[in-house]
Symmetry: C2
Subunit: 344 residues, 2 copies
DNA sequence: CTGTTAGCGCTTTCAG
DNA sequence: CTGAAAGCGCTAACAG
């Protein structure tokens, strides 16, 4: 008879352990472990006995014990600022899906809901093998670096940093293309709405806007600072209506901004794109529902999330971190808010 | 001098453990544990020594070891079907935020990306103290029940089941109110679009639609079956345009359906709400951007997520499960797609 | 093919 | 206020 687990004299169903299962099946814990991990070969009869015991006791293994023994958590951490809008949700879905394929759990941390994010991230590091942080999650760079010394880290759409692997969607060239498209409709007073200093993503979009002007020997205006929110969009639209700005085209840092601006302008009687062309970035669902349809850029967000999970896994596996940021291509989605004619 | 940890003769920074920290600080591991948990009182000098050692070694505790020792994971599991659309994202945000307040990590499982969700859920049970499952996550009821025998479970917006705690948003009364509102605009051929059998949520909305008719001595039509997707909405709109259905009002099971139907109809020249009134459910962002604005119902999704996390925590704390489902109130959002005049 | 036996790294009495 | 020691439940050699 197998040795009785010293700490659980009676095998209460509520706290079935590998010991109670072994007892119940009349085998050793090693055997139980074997059939549950399916690694080594076990006699079919034995195997059945164990499975039956597991079933009868409703045994649920304690993950922590396994993690301790195998010396890794089999889990990836993901740090995102929040989840409003389709962007982060899509990213998360991509991440989760790939993590699932790799048999990794995902533990999620949303920094906007935290008062002490440093603590949250430290705590996270405690229970995962590797961590992906979204660039604008605004985690202190030194925290990231500290972490990096302990666990693999990849930054998604963030500032490239020494020794920290990065993945991102392409911004500059598509922004250049988008801005060029608008300019080629004959618009000459295009404004960029958004804050280039809020992160590399927006910075690159603005740079693309600049480049498109430069390509055509045109002068580009200073960016109109705005955060990526409906509120800031509405506020800007109001100022535009009040005559504080003059423009025949607006290149907005993202769709939310573009959409709120467009609606506010339309409600005030302005014609889009007649009076003013408007383009955004992200291709959110609303973009194809508004009239005119919003011309924008679609990012491979899902793939970006998957890529992050992938890299995490490889890094955990011992692969050396890549020194260059991996860029995923984006795609221009032309509808009619840019001045193109409807295709009916 | 503190005892040397048998298994780690040298304290490599990469694998700092509580032993290396203790060594480095010249104290026992018990003391290190104490200052890190902040429970018992430790002499300030000792405390500092330990903190310094932690800092110098870049010590990151192993969560699994703690979990094993304290006998719980300090983590909540959340099972959702997916994350597209604002509904689940919002739910998740509410859940995460409250879990964070309760110092619980959240590990997420998305069932739509899984081939073997039973395995996924089992695996999840392995690393969390309690699990919240979204009703339509389509987890076999017996799986839920099995789980429930081992770990606290709460079902969000799902079928009420014996002994399993449930939380949900109110549907029936607000559906009745919404349908009544439409009928009171004089519409007499209102159709319900959605599948009442797809879950209690939709079922209750349909029941509310029925009740509103009954209240007025009107006959209600059979529901038009459709899944909650843009594709199904478009398809239905097409059939409507082809004359397969006749209606002067549409009560859609959710906003995505309503929106796609509305747009398709409008693109074909139909006037909304002139020819046909349309209302949805959820109040997604797009609902306030389309013209006419979509009349819909706003659910307290964030709160629902928070509530689930709350209940999980209490259940883990030993509180007995509530026998009745907790309902959160919803709110009718009247815009103009229902036939109301714009308020300008 | 199966059982024994060390740990995995941390918490927590129990002494002192 | 601090240290010693006994586990927490599981995996993985190592024998047999």
């Amino acid at each position: 008879m197998a040795k009785q687990h010293p700490a659980s004299p009676e095998a209460r169903s509520a706290g079935a352990t590998i010991y109670s299962v072994a007892d119940h099946a009349g085998v050793s814990i090693a055997t139980v472990s074997r059939v549950l991990q399916g690694a080594t070969v076990v006699a079919e009869a034995t195997r059945q006995k164990v499975l039956t015991a597991v079933e009868e006791l409703g045994y649920v293994p304690t993950g922590a014990a396994r993690s301790l023994a195998v010396r890794h958590h089999e889990a990836h951490g993901l740090v995102l600022p929040e989840l409003s809008g389709p962007y982060y949700a899509e990213l998360l879905m991509g991440f989760e899906a790939r993590a699932a394929e790799l048999a990794q759990s995902v533990v999620l941390v949303l920094t906007n809901s935290r008062t002490d994010m440093a603590a949250a991230v430290r705590q996270l590091a405690t229970r995962v093998d590797a961590i992906a942080v979204f660039g604008s999650a605004a985690i202190p760079a030194d925290l990231v670096r500290l972490l990096r010394a302990k666990k693999p880290v990849v930054v998604i759409a963030g500032e490239p940093q020494d020794g920290i692997e990065a993945v991102a969607a392409e911004n500059l060239e598509s922004a250049r293309e988008l801005a060029g498209h608008v300019l080629d409709h004959g618009r000459r007073r295009a404004l960029f709405v958004g804050d280039p200093d809020s992160g590399p993503d927006i910075r690159n979009r603005y740079d693309g806007y600049l480049a498109a002007h430069r390509d055509r020997g045109l002068d580009a205006a200073e960016p109109v600072l705005a955060r990526l929110s409906e509120a800031d969009g509405t506020a800007f639209a109001q100022r535009l209506l009040a005559g504080e700005h003059e423009a025949d085209a607006l290149m907005c840092a993202n769709d939310e901004l573009a959409l709120s601006i467009m609606t506010t302008l339309q409600d005030a009687g302005r014609d889009v794109p007649g009076d003013i062309a408007i383009v955004g970035w992200d291709d959110v669902m609303t973009a194809r529902y508004v009239r005119p349809g919003l011309t924008t850029v679609r990012q491979p967000v899902h793939e970006l999330g998957a890529l992050a999970a992938d890299r995490l896994h490889e890094l955990v596996g011992g692969e050396p971190p890549r020194t260059y940021a991996q860029m995923l291509p984006t795609r221009l989605v032309v509808r009619t808010s840019c001045g193109c004619l409807p295709v009916t």
